[in-house]
Amino acid sequence: MTKKAKKEVIVVGGGLAGLSCAMKLAEQGLYVTLISVTKVKRSHSVCAQGGINAAMNLKGENDSPYIHAYETIKGGDFLADQPPVVEMCLAAPGIIRMMDRFGCPFNRTLEGNLDFRGFGGTLYRRTAFCGASTGQQLLYALDEQVRRYETKGLVVKYENHEFMRLVIDEMGVARGIVMMDHYNMKLQVLRADSVVIASGGPGLIFKKSTNSTFCTGAANGRLYRQGMEYANGEFIQIHPTAIPAEDKLRLISESARAEGGRLWVYGDASKSIDTPDGRTISCGKTGEPWFFLEDIYPDFGNLVPRDIASREVLRVCERGLGIDGQMQVFLDVSHLSKQTQHKLDAVLDIYQKFTGEDPRKVPMKIFPAVHYSMGGAWVDWPAANDSDRFTRYRQMTSIPGCFNIGESDFQYHGANRLGANSLLSCIFAGLVSGLEVPRYLDDLGVRNENLPSYLFVEALAQEEAFKQDLLAREGKENVHRLHDELSEWMVAHVTVKRNNKDLEQTLDKISELQERYEKISLDDRGQRLNQTYIFAAQFGPMLDLAAVITKGALLRNEFRGAHYKAEFPERDDVNFLKTTIARYNKETRMPHISYRPVDLRHLKPVKRVYTKFKKAIPEFENMPENIALPL
């Protein structure tokens, strides 16, 4: 067998990240096996509404990718490694042009060029958009390109299949996966020399979130159990504007505010509130609309970053100013022109369908909701001019051969993500991994076909044994009720405001739930699309990630981005300007936490202020001259 081996890669997840990776790999002639728990076209990327950022400077504002990078790094409260952020922002205009060539129906100006809107955390208009369902349209455009490669035989999809376990060889290198067919519950092992995980966020750990029901975090939880490092888990973004409901907290896009929507409550002049620039102001005029963000943040107003807006909504409600005495405020777009409202149709329709009220006429009632995980798998990033740039691999996890991209990685967003940066980071990381994986395969000595088969047989046997054990459990606990309990604790103690006493108790609670999880019994033990089993098998790793999120939060005694503790109201760069790394401890089932320095080579941390806006081009130090963009 001297013939050159076929290069095969497994991609787990078919959202924006997974699809752009699969596309890039197939373009280079690699064979991709794409695994997804749903039809890839239904992936959670479809829920992204507002847009995708790229500093293309088409609005005459002197915008530049460097300002974009600066605002992203500052928005993330300086916790993001800087080289990947800078490269992402440099690549953004090219990514938009590529998606434009794929026929993605971006909104247009009268001249037929791409239109851009403003977004949170910036005063530049750099967000390209497709109405108010941009994620859906970008996903479809990539889905279409990948379907082309499917017809050419370069991509094979296993949809309705779930990643259950990574096959790791004796050297600790990824060699394949065990997957389960949801329709017949059969387990199967697949070999490959590289595995790319693009499995999305873990919002379902909180149960009530803006996430799709696929976003359990189970794939990352399973990898974490197998030794993968998980970084910055405690940074969970709470989006300020979602519709409160039973089954899902449906998002009302930040673009509603970017297009002129305003947050307000009825004022009460007898009450006052402190502002971050040291003023004490009264809570509006009694009985009249009080546009609190505009008063507290005169420059950014309704477009402060999400963590800030969420805390202010909570603060206003805690002063008893919530609408109808409840934890909710108004998001008002009723004053906007019909034309502007039309650009928001996709989200306004969602509000109308689920509440029966027309937001074009009456203000929407909204409240913050769990939305996005900045944390995720730790991945490597040798920068362009690092001496070891070509002996390491970008987007590779701590398990050699296993890459991680999209919301499921920890890169790009630091302590808080700016709106419209997630779609960008997903596509960018997908393209980058699409170039790094082939290089990894070229460098790889021993290929999986030369490995003993018992490695694969054993991995399958382990998963089969787990399945039989779970199906055979005869306890009194119901996995869905355990999920409700986890949700109550996580939402109450590990979201907008945190404190150490509650976090400690939540960790104890998670331990208790881990114990009780051993005593569940399933209402369904069948072998045909057994959704009870599917969820029960996900819930174990979800509990483990819940512990990662909570313990990371407990140990981080400071206020940074989305992580806020009243006991520690200041950012503490001396002790906590560092990346949290969680490793699974098999005995305690709890994470072991350590820290790693943040790559700050381009920009020195400054105070993160949103009360005043200065238009200045930031100075980047140590910029490499040999940055090669992935497209």
Partner: protein
Amino acid sequence: MTKYILKIYRGIPEKQYWEEFELTLRPFLNINSALLEIQKNPVNHKGQRVAPVAWENGCLEEVCGSCSMLVNSRPRQACTALVQEILDETKKNVIILAPLSKFPLVRDLVVDRTSMFESLKRVRAWIDADDALDRGFGPKISPQEQEVRYLLSTCMTCGCCSESCPQVSDRSDFIGPAPISQARLFNAHPVGALQEETRVRPLLEKGGIASCGNAQNCAKVCPKKIPLTESIAVMGRKATKQALKDLISLPDVK
């Protein structure tokens, strides 16, 4: 507390049966939440503990296309089906759920809609981009054209149109409305138009556009309000033209 009944046609191929669940009505409850309740406590109206009902769900805001099913015989998304609204409309306290009937049944309310995605390959529903590189912008497009393409491009491949179509059945090989509309979407793009014929020709084949019986149910049930009948008409005209062109052996150069 008002109670209502979910009557569900469930089971596996060849073994389908009706089962009823009595549930409590709450404001703004949707069918998805009702099914979640059954999942947590799967007890039927006779008080028997049974296997939870399987259904597909995803975004829960009508943008992913997962939760298509028949709600009182109408194909729609379960997430936007509000219980109170349906009870008020029908003046009954029973809502009937069934799986889509035009696709292979997997279990309970879940069917396999792979055929929908295969049809997208047949009509080459994509832009033939040379590569995934930065080669500058795509063509200029007017806001009016964008508006039309965006609307056509919101198709979630949910299958409601095919379900409602009398021409889509075991006895016919009609491709269904959604892929025809997708062919229109890509032909409406200046670059897509360069390969127009490759999308029109498959529609001239067996099971193509001629199989449409013009019942117009598709546009009525489409959750995204895509003008499917209009798309079929547009593609029908193109198909006729193409058929004539194909009578002449040399390709038509513009």
